[in-house]
Amino acid sequence: MADDREPPPLFDDEKPDKKEEEDDLFATPNEAPKEEVKDEPASLPTEPVQDKASEDLFAADDDLFGAQNMQEDSAAPPQLEVVDEPPPEMDISGEGEEVDLDSPETEGPSSPAKMEPDSDSSPLEAPPMAEVLPPAKPVTEEKPKPTPAPRKPSMEKSKEEIEEEESGDQFALDIKVHDPGKIGDGMGAYMSYKVTTQTSIPAFRRPSMTVTRRFSDFLGLHEKLSQKHVHIGRIVPPAPEKSVVGMTKIKMSKEDTSSTEFVEKRRALLERFLQRISIHPVLQMDPDFRDFLEQDELPRATSTSAVSGAGVLRLIKGVGDTLSKVTIKMDESDQWFEEKQNQVEALDQQLKKLHASVEALVTYRKELGISTAAFAKSTAMLSNSEEHTALSRALSQLAEVEEKIEQVHLEQADNDFFLLSELLKDYIGIIQAIRIVFHERVKSFHNWQNAQQTLAKKREAEAKFKQTGKTDKIAHAQEEIREWEGKVEKGREDFEEISKTIRTEIRRFETNRVKDFRNIIIKYMETLMNSQQQLIKYWEGFLPEAKAIA
């Protein structure tokens, strides 16, 4: 996953508050390599990576845009903006680049004013925006190529928008999970993993570190991140799956190929989990995440155990959520969300089908490997019985070739699995996380509506008091009204906030999806090519032996 370096995100901050953040940054002791007047704000360690300001500062996305293979597109490095205010432009799709331009020169200031009124809609104002875009294009094209790190603040007009760009390896977070080891024995045994991080992000204490973690630590991390981020609409990479069967085998010290496979599968899964977090501009800066990578000792995440108190609570909450999913209906006046949800569901279906096909392929290939091995043995036996020397030698060579080919098949099966199958599974999991944030948005809407209803009731009450002349209660009622007006306002803001966040998240998801799939597909095709090359090599080696028989 994170093989490709993420060019450090670049963004321009025109916002005054950004400046402050920078100051803060300088204040923090961590900053060693603080060369650029960076938009380090991303490394807003000091502020809770909560909201607007810190959105998506780092384009954690790998080279999809510009850096790697899109050389052709380098002209317009894709930018993902996180827009702080929810200007309508957000819905604009850029000009063919993954540019979520809401036109740099646009209504920065006006956008706040343009705040969508409670009619939930950030309707797709594509048309109006469209005009804006073309002009935007040249602007972005002027943008320096990803490589030059310093982002010239002048480049960006839109104060609210922070544009992310890859610009070399400046703020890379390279994480590897390795060296799985079994600790302990019997039912209390567990696997531990080493997590090594290389980073140039100043917020980290050291540029490179290694810690030891166990599976429940990963689950604990997921738990913490979920609690902080999901309810505001961020897609948190799904937690790695527990596997009772796999782990029990390990605990029982069953050393066979399936348990080694299981361990490798899990190791790779944990690595991808961390890497996905690391490319998320906000989650990347989460202090819990940092602690996970840095701290030598972490408090045991006991609440991740299925049978703990927290586990039971989770279960209950899960049930509650499921019910509410069914009961809360939301009048979706924002078509974008409706379309997106449909799209996500369709994608889910497709991925599941693909996953089934890939699993079948893996099985077939493994069987082919086994058959090849059996034939190799038969051939060896024939070679032994053969009296004609040259033929015997050739048969013996054939047996060796077939053994090597068995390995080729098994390796290819592994590639089928680890590249394709796991990728599909990951995305099916991410889609689940997406469903969750969509649901959070519905909950937020619901809260807002409830607040509105309560406000209406309070107003009614006040009116009644006025009517019936209960002046003593009026003041109180008016207080409540004010209180609830505030809540309504907050509810609306929250709802819009989460809607905006989700849009950004979805866009990032799409971008990542394209990139991931592209990379994996290419890598996989290359493994297919490699297999062919090995076949060529082995058979070409055998040919002279065969010719020399007589």
Partner: protein, 448 residues
Amino acid sequence: MRSAVLYPSVIAQEGEDQDVPSRLTSTKMDNATEETNTNGTADVSDSPEADQDTPESSGLPEPTLPPKPFEPVFTVKVTDAAKDGEVVKYTLKTTKIKSDSEEYKVVRLYEDFEWLEHCLITQNDIAGIIVPPLPPKPSTTAQSAEARSKKQLGNKKRHGSDDDEGNDIKLVVGDEFEKDCRSLEKYLYLVVTHPILGQDESITKFLTVREAPTRAKLKKSIFSNLSKAVGEARKGGHKDVNEFFQKERDTVNEVSVQMKEAKENFMKIVYGEQRVAVGLSHLSTALHLGGQLQEGADVVVNKLFTQFSEGLEDAKQGLEVMAVNDENTLGFSLDLYSRYLEAEKEMLYRRTCKMMEFEAASKAVEKAKPQKREMVVAARDKAEKEFEDISKAAEKELKNFHHQRVLTFQDSLVRHADAKIKAARDTYALLTKCVTALKTLDTSFKPL
């Protein structure tokens, strides 16, 4: 002389007078239509020499080697197999080696081949001969096709083997005409080039006469197969007087089992390759069932998937080609020799029987009473001569047999490796193109 125990229901035929074996339909009888000539009427050939003359055979067939080195008279190709109802008709094209202009085209059924084999066996002294094995009858019924499919492709319901409604996609392997043609062709080649069998007139008739020879029903009695097996088991272990032969017997017993196993395992590889090809094909199809949106990331992903799917199709084709080639090269030889080694075993067994007869006759001489002595000695001498004859014939035959075997395998292995290399290279080239296309695919999109 043949050992009567081996060939069931043989209507006895002496080997000496074979120009016009009374048993066989002579040319006269070919013309007569009183017997059912099942395929005579459906003859599609228009051979120049549709006449009924039998070209001369190259001499009197003898129980032992002919004085002059044998040269095969014919080259035969089995060019086509066509199904007519449940019956498969094979078209044979024959040319005379010495004069290319003489070409013959006939149509035969599998049963005609069986009859040919029967004639060869019964009209020649095949004692010391390793008789080329006739390929088993190809199955053409629907049930056998299904059975074959199950064997090759597996009958477990597998993931991805459903169509959209979850119905099991039945993958049925097609009839293997191509393979059958080649097997029969090889059989004819072995027969035609055999120094002794190749002189048999039945071959000439079989290859050149438009109407198929009339056949008598061949009964394969179960009982005699059984007694044959029991006999082999009992006598097969009898120690040989000759070291060379003892070794040969031991080896063939071992190798014939191994060869069969190798062939089975090899075919599993071929089926395995076919299955993976099917898996790739399913995946490739599933990639096409993409999102329907025309904008946004889905467009790009669909483009990626389409290209990927093409790449997978390339990989699949490569595998299919490999599977076919495998079967035609090494698979073919393994199959042939699995059966041919059985023929060798049978020949050695015949010799062993003769050896035991000789031993028994020798013992009888020792025990004979004076008045019977002369008879017994004569019997022993006869047995001795037969044994020597068969041993001589067998030795020569074995030499040829092994020589041919080595050459055949060399040829197969070389072609096998060549085919693999070519297929792999071709596949690699196609995959390279695909990867290039993938890498240069424009993955920009307008986020919705």
